[in-house]
Structures are given as C-alpha cells and as structure tokens.
C-alpha cells in the first residue's frame, strides 16, 4: 500500500515537471517574443520603438539569454513563490491571476458534483431496467448532452437569457459583489450563480458517465455474487445497491482524476462565452499577447491543480477498493 502511494507521488511530481517544461515551451513557440508583439502593438498605435530600446527591454526582461537558462531562471523564481510580472498588465502575475484560479477550480468541482449527482442514479436505473422507456429516454437526452459542445450550450443559454428575459446570465457574481472582499455573503452570492455554469459544463460529462455506469453495472449484475446475494434473501434494492453498484463505482473514483482536466479545459471556453471571472479569458489574452509569465504560470498552475486532483482521487480509489490495498491492481 505504501509502495502504491509513493509511486503515485513520484508520478505526480514527474507530471508537474513535465507540465512546467511543456508550458514553457509553448510560450516560446511563437516566433518572436513579448518584445516583438509589444513593438507591433506600439507601432500600430503610432509610436515606434528603436532597436536600442528593444534591446534594453529584452535585457531587462531576461529575454536575450538562451532558452534553458530562461527556463531555469523561471523555475527558480517560481519555487521562491515569485511568479514574475505580467508584462502587459504591469503588475505581478499573482495579482492578476488572483482569485481566478480558485474560481476556476470551484466551477470545475461544482460541475463534477452536478455530473455525478445526476449521472449515477440515472446510470443505475438504466442498468437495472435496460431497454425500458425511461432507459431509452435518458440515453437519448444523454446523447444530446454529449453532442452539444459546452460553448454552444453556453451560447444558447446566454441567447435565451438575453432574448427572452433581457438578462445577462453570465458572470459569477452580482454587480455589487464583484470587487468586494470575500465574506460569507459573497460566498452565498457565488453559490447562487454557480448552477448555470456548472450545468453547462457538466452536461457533456453526464452523458458519458451515464453510459459507462450503465455498461459497468450491466456487466456486474450478471456476475454470480449478485445471485448469491439474492439467494440469501436480500431485498432487490439492497442486492443491487450494496453489491454490484459498489463494485461498479470503483472505476469512477479513479476517473475523477481524468474528469478534472477535462472539466477544467471545458471551463475555459465556457468562461469565455459566459464572461466568468476565471482563468480562461485571461489565458486567451495572455497567449495572444505572448505574455510569457502570465500564460506560462496559468498553464502551469492549471496543470498542477489537476495533478493534485488526480493524486487525491488515486488515494480515494485506494481507500475504496480493497483489491488495490492488497496490492493487486
């Protein structure tokens, strides 16, 4: 058991390192660097930047050193807690990102909770009464959810809200709370605004989960231990819920780990459409402006948070499935 934990931990650390390298590489892929796009935006607004100024700027930002050195410097800074300056904003990256990262996670977790809460009962029902009318109905609805990309659903929701209610359903806070410091009232306001983004984000995952749960449970229901449980005289409800469902749930716990990156990704696009104050819109702007510190930090942070989530879900799986505890994977 300890070996398992250690292995997962090592893997997590490796993954984080790989993500950091990847994020750094991505930022440096586009030809030119921040200074080039800075010059471009300056010249489009009429002013020019001389060679000397450009060079000085580069030196100041450390952009003239070889890549590996830049990476090392960046990692060093991060480990000290200094995420650098968001060049375009002129403020420290941590300031700019601020609450957004946390909010991204809040929305993602809310979406996952919604997904599970709806998908599991439906999946169980569909497996116990396969080919029934409700089974077909749920499957059909599930498919619709699967086929509509998150951002499209967000668009439709916005459209409906706007056209029929004249309201802007985007955003995570009511106007008064946007700049306010955190308080219980603010958290309550957030909770009131969570359902729409959570549902929009969760819909696609729900369909997938229903299908997997249904097929897993169908497999388990055919196994002998279910018949033995019945032969003991258990009520049908107990037979299903206590045994095959418990076994069928196990793969799900491990899927939290992969659900998280998927949902976080989805939340980025949906945030753009619904104008949520999360990391998505920020990342897009940073990438277009080639703001290296900002974009790199965001990607790194997102990756780290998902790795942590994955690791936690592995631990959860271990706790839930005795087969893994005893070393048989």
């Amino acid at each position: 058991m300890l070996a398992y934990i250690v292995r997962r931990l090592v893997l997590a650390v490796l993954t984080v390192w790989a993500i950091s390298v990847l994020s750094f590489m991505i930022i440096h892929l586009p030809p030119g660097d921040y200074v080039t796009s800075y010059i471009a935006s300056m010249s489009s607004s009429g002013s020019a930047v001389s060679e000397g100024e450009a060079q000085a700027l580069r030196e100041q930002l450390g952009l003239d050193k070889p890549i590996t050195v830049q990476y090392a410097k960046w990692m060093g800074l991060i480990l000290q807690g200094n995420f650098g300056m968001a060049m375009e904003w002129g403020r420290p990256v941590s300031d700019v990102i601020g609450d957004r990262l946390v909010l991204t996670m809040v929305i993602s977790v809310a979406a996952i909770v919604f997904t599970w809460g709806i998908a599991l009962p439906i999946g169980i029902y569909s497996a116990v009464y396969p080919y029934s009318f409700l089974d077909y109905l749920f499957t059909f609805i599930g498919f619709i959810g699967l086929a509509i990309p998150g951002f499209l659903l967000a668009l439709v929701v916005m459209y409906v809200g706007f056209a029929y209610f004249g309201a802007n359903v985007g955003g995570l806070f009511s106007p008064d709370f946007i700049e306010a410091p955190w308080s219980v009232a603010k958290i309550w306001d957030l909770t009131k605004h969570l359902p729409i983004p959570a549902i929009v984000l969760g819909v696609a995952g729900t369909a997938q989960l229903i299908r997997i749960m249904r097929s897993n449970l169908l497999d388990e229901l055919r196994k002998p231990y279910v018949m033995t449980a019945r032969a003991r005289g258990l009520s049908e409800y107990r037979v299903v819920m206590r045994y095959p469902v418990r076994v069928a749930l196990n793969p799900f716990v491990s899927t939290i780990g992969y659900l998280l990156p998927y949902v976080v990704s989805g939340s980025i696009i949906v945030s753009l459409v619904l104008s949520l104050p999360t990391v998505g819109p920020l990342l897009l702007k940073a990438l277009i402006a080639q703001d290296m510190f900002l974009a790199g930090t965001i990607i790194l942070m997102l990756g780290v948070m998902t790795v942590i989530g994955t690791f936690l879900s592995d631990l959860l799986l271990m706790w839930v499935d005795p087969r893994i505890r005893f070393g048989r994977e």
Binding site: K223, P224, Y225, M227, T228, A229, R230, A231, R232, G233, L234, S235, E236, R242, Y243, R246, V247, N250, V320, D321, P322, R323, F326, R328
Partner: protein, 333 residues
C-alpha cells in the same frame, strides 16, 4: 408420486422458459421430484439439461428473461403448513424469508460468489441479521461459529478477510457457512465441488455429510458427476433437456437403470472392472440446440432403443415402474 405430507419439498411438473428475441428456450420442461427431510436428493445430467435453472426456479431467482410458466413447488414449512413457492411473489417478504432462511444455496463458483469488495464476514453477518432478530454482536458470534463448523481454522481472523485472500477450498467452505448460517431445512448445492481439486472435493463432501447428519438437513445435490452422486445421494433424479427422465433411490438407479439415457450414462463411466483396451462407450450424437428441440421424446435421436413411429411422435410422461421408481420412456408403457 407420493402425496406424503412427510415430504419437505415437492416439485410437480415445473416448467421454466426463457423468452428471447431469437426464440424461446424451454430450460425446464416438466420436471417432477420430491425431497424428503434429512435425505439427499441427487440431480444428475449433462450440462445444459436444466439442473441449475431448476434450483434457481425453486428459489425464485431465475434471471430475466426467464420465467416459471407452469407447475408447483410445494414446500412444507416448519409449522407443517404447505406453501406453493410458484404462487409467491418472487421478491416478496415471504419468499425472501424462505430464501436463505429455510432454503440455503451453495453455488458452483466460489471464486466469484463473494463480492470482491466486501469481507466475507460482512456478507455472512448480513445473512444472519436478515433472518434472525439478533444484535450485531450476536450475529458476528454466530458467523464465527458458522465458519468454525465448516472447518475453517482461526475463524475469528478469517471473518474479516476478503474472499480473494482465501484459497478455493476455504472459499467454498465459507460459502457453505453462509448458506448454513440461518439453519436452513434444505440446502441446495449446485455443483459444489466442480471447481475444486479432488482432495478438496472429498473434504467438502465429507463436510456436507457431517452437517447433514448433525442437523437433519435435507440436501439437493446438483452435479454431472456420477461418482459424487453414488457417494452422497439417497435418491436420484436423472434429467435430460429440462425433463426428469428417471427417478429412484440411488441403489436402484445404479444397479438397475431403466431409461436408455441412464443406462448409457452409466455405461460411459470408466470402470476398473471393464475390459481393457476396449473403446469407451459414449452416447452418440450431441445435445440439440435449445431452439431445435426434437419432436416427441427429447432423447430419441440419440437413443439406442429408438422405436420409430412411437418415440418421435409422442412425448412420454413420468410413470411409476416399481416401488419408488419412475421412468419417462415408451419402453415401459
């Protein structure tokens, strides 16, 4: 057929069919037999003859799309009253209390008969609690006792282990312990030793005999192994394609088989007395596809005593041919 109130279980003309898109399979097609208290009834037949479905029908746990379509299963309760199990609701309170309470079931696959994520203790205690109004502590004590009575060493430790931590023999013993935990009056054992090696087989059979003696429990032993039947059974029912084709007590069946199928089965057992270097007699042909049942007597395509015109047109019924013997064959009508 005896209309004896001393019988524990009396199955009359049971028919169970599976209704699928591709066709209907008559898994059990007119099986009748009786189980006497304290005695062992052996049900023997090839794979696919409907033995397991018969056991499932008795316990009313036939899987969808299967259904009992006809017949009676009369159980004599502890208070002497008689209940027709077919008429009970499969998942109703009464049937569920009988299941596991008055009738226990031991399965053929100890490997997968326990839930992989629960301890055997959890499943054992659950069974006890279900059928007895006792406290958890008492249920656990009874569980440990049950494990001890089936010969599992260190039961206080084993009760908290998972099924994959036990060997095949121990797991089967644990299965028996669960089935026995509520002191059933009838134990149905469906191929209890098929998945075990010969030594363990012998141990399990000894165990079953011992328990039967101690508790006066009736046993319905389902197997395709004639050797096990010879050793354990008092009465035997031979099944073919969902029907009982011959019945009687074990000595009569083995020494004086009447139905051609029984005769052929017995002939095909390798024996120490048979002439060396002679080809082992087998039953010609193979079991017909379930959608392709022969008309008339189901065995006639493979029967050595086939009577054309008779055996392929009518269906023989079980008729008495002596004290406690019944055969379903036109040879005896």
């Amino acid at each position: 057929m005896q209309n004896d109130a001393k019988l524990l279980l009396s199955v009359k003309n049971l028919r169970t069919s599976f209704f699928q898109d591709e066709g209907t399979t008559k898994a059990v097609d007119g099986a009748s037999f009786d189980v006497s208290p304290g005695k062992t009834l052996g049900i023997v037949g090839e794979s696919g003859c409907g033995k397991s479905v018969t056991a499932q029908s008795i316990l009313r746990i036939v899987d969808r799309p299967g259904r009992i379509v006809d017949g009676e299963i009369v159980l004599t309760r502890a208070d002497g009253s008689q209940t027709d199990l077919v008429k009970l609701e499969a998942n109703g309170r009464e049937m569920r209390s009988i299941r596991g309470g008055e009738i226990g079931l031991v399965f053929q696959e100890p490997m997968t008969s326990f839930s992989p994520v629960h301890t055997i203790g959890a499943q054992l205690i659950e069974a006890v609690l279900l059928h007895n109004a006792v406290s958890r502590k008492e249920a656990r004590r009874r569980g440990i006792e049950a494990l001890r009575s089936v010969g599992i060493p260190k039961p206080e430790r084993r009760i908290d282990e998972y099924s994959f931590e036990l060997s095949g023999g121990l797991r089967q013993r644990a299965m028996i312990a669960v089935a026995l935990s509520c002191d059933p009056r009838l134990l149905i054992a469906d191929e209890p030793t098929t998945a075990l090696d010969v030594t363990t087989q012998a141990q399990i059979l000894d165990l079953l005999r011992k328990i039967q003696r101690e508790r006066g429990m009736a046993v319905m032993l389902i197997t395709h192994n004639l050797g096990v039947i010879a050793e354990m059974a008092d009465d035997v029912v031979v099944m073919y394609l969902g029907r009982a084709v011959e019945q009687g007590n074990v000595d009569d069946i083995f020494h004086d088989p009447k139905h051609p199928y029984t005769k052929a089965l017995l002939q095909s057992i390798p024996s120490i007395d048979s002439v060396p270097r002679l080809k082992l007699p087998t039953i010609s042909g193979s079991i017909p596809h379930p959608f392709n049942r022969p008309t008339g007597c189901p065995f006639h395509p493979r029967c050595a005593s086939f009577m054309p015109g008779r055996c392929d047109t009518g269906e023989p019924q079980l008729k008495p041919v002596g004290a406690g013997r019944q055969v379903s064959c036109f040879l005896y009508e």
